[in-house]
Amino acid sequence: MELVTPGIGLLFWQTLVFLIVFLILAGFVWKPIASALKARESQIEDSLRAAELAKEEMEQVKADNEYLLQEARAERDKMLKDATEVANKIKEDAKNETAAIADKMIADAKSSIESEKKAALAEVKNLVAELSLEVAEKLLREKLSDDKSQKDLIDKFLKEVKVN
């Protein structure tokens, strides 16, 4: 029976000591431990979240880079294409212009040659006509220097006329 009869002394001491232990541990141990555990748990959670975020950001940056690279590549291609086009156009234009100038020059030369030729020909004709006239005059003068020859000639003409 004594085994199941709580003694007043032990009841008193147990209440006192347990309360003291509880108050000391609650104040100096459990509270800081609970808050430390909580802080650590939230820190771990935050870190995990931050890591996840960083990973996502990284991926975003990578995607951005890829996009930029692609854009740059497209830009470069476009620029190259444009430049080629422009160069081709310039080349074409130059070629066309040169050809036109050359044609014009040739035509100019041709026409000037023609006119020179014409002028020269006309001069030659005039000279030939003058010379012929002079020769004819001289011949006539020579041949008709005496009366006999003048008479012969008149006869000849008359003969010819007669024939006709």
């Binding site: 004594e2 085994l3 199941v4 009869t5 709580p6 003694g7 007043i8 002394g9 032990l10 009841l11 008193f12 001491w13 147990q14 209440t15 000591v17 347990f18 003291i20 232990v21 509880f22 000391i24 541990l25 609650a26 100096f28 141990v29 459990w30 509270k31 800081p32 431990i33 609970a34 430390a36 555990l37 802080a39 650590r40 820190q43």
Partner: protein, 346 residues
Amino acid sequence: MEFNQRNTLSKFLKFSSLFTLVLLLAVAPVKAAGGGGEEGDFDPSAMINHHIMDAHSWEIMHGVVVHLPVIVYSEEKGLDVFSSANFYDEDHNVVPYNGYVMDHEHISLASGEHVLDFSITKNVLFLFINALVMIMIFMAVARGYKKNAGKAPKGIQSFFEPIIIYVRDEIVKPNIGPKYEKYLPYLLTLFFFIWFGNLLGLLPAAANLTGNIAVTLVLAIFSLLITLVSGNKNYWGHIFDPLGNSMPWIAKFPLYIILWPIEIIGIFTKPFSLMVRLFANITAGHIIILSILSLTFIAQSIAVGIGATIFATVMNMLELFVALLQAYVFTLLTAMYFGQAVEEHH
């Protein structure tokens, strides 16, 4: 190489000290019991009672006795403090002292009048030891949290952290719910107080602290008081109006004449069961080990002695588990009662 050798050596030392401890656990009661045998016929029930009951002196082993202070109060003589050694003469016979007599550790006035005994008995001494061990260990743990703030736990801190987290996440949180934080300090103190007390009680020559009904009664009363103080409208409604709105008052009232006493008794049976469970489990464990060892002295045979020692060692291992289990059960049930007290209507 040297490191390896040291490692092996320390391992061996650890193992051998553990082995010695286990051996001591098994042998210590035998020595004391052997002492009982010298004085005459061996009486196992007296030996066992002597071991599981409180005492005014601490018998570490036969012949080595620490006499603890006696603090008594009576109306006639007032407060008196003296050593319990005064109750013994040179031949270790119990004698009256200064008007007080002690009969089987029960002190009263020579006139037969009752006294209030606040002595530092064996159990009180172990209560102090338990408290001191707890405060020292957990102060060290708390220091670890200060020192390793934001870092991984180290040393003793890393041993207790999983246990603290287990109590918080597996016992307290699921049973109390979102308001658990208010109750965590008490439940952690309760858990470790019981666990350490149980373990201390398993040491050789130690007191049967958590197997004492006064100790478990105080713990149960604390749990009951906290439950009652935390009880919300819903909790009291469950006790005084368990049928709720299912029927009119005129119909409920006759039922309540029967139900109210049951519900009110129910408030007290819960802590009562806590008290008895812990007390009975721990005391029973001690009784079993002591009984097994008593077999040796009853049979007076070495063979039985060897067998009983092995069996008692196995029992001791089981008691190590029971020490933790009972701390768990007490804390778990207390948390459940708190949970019922703060549960919101659903």
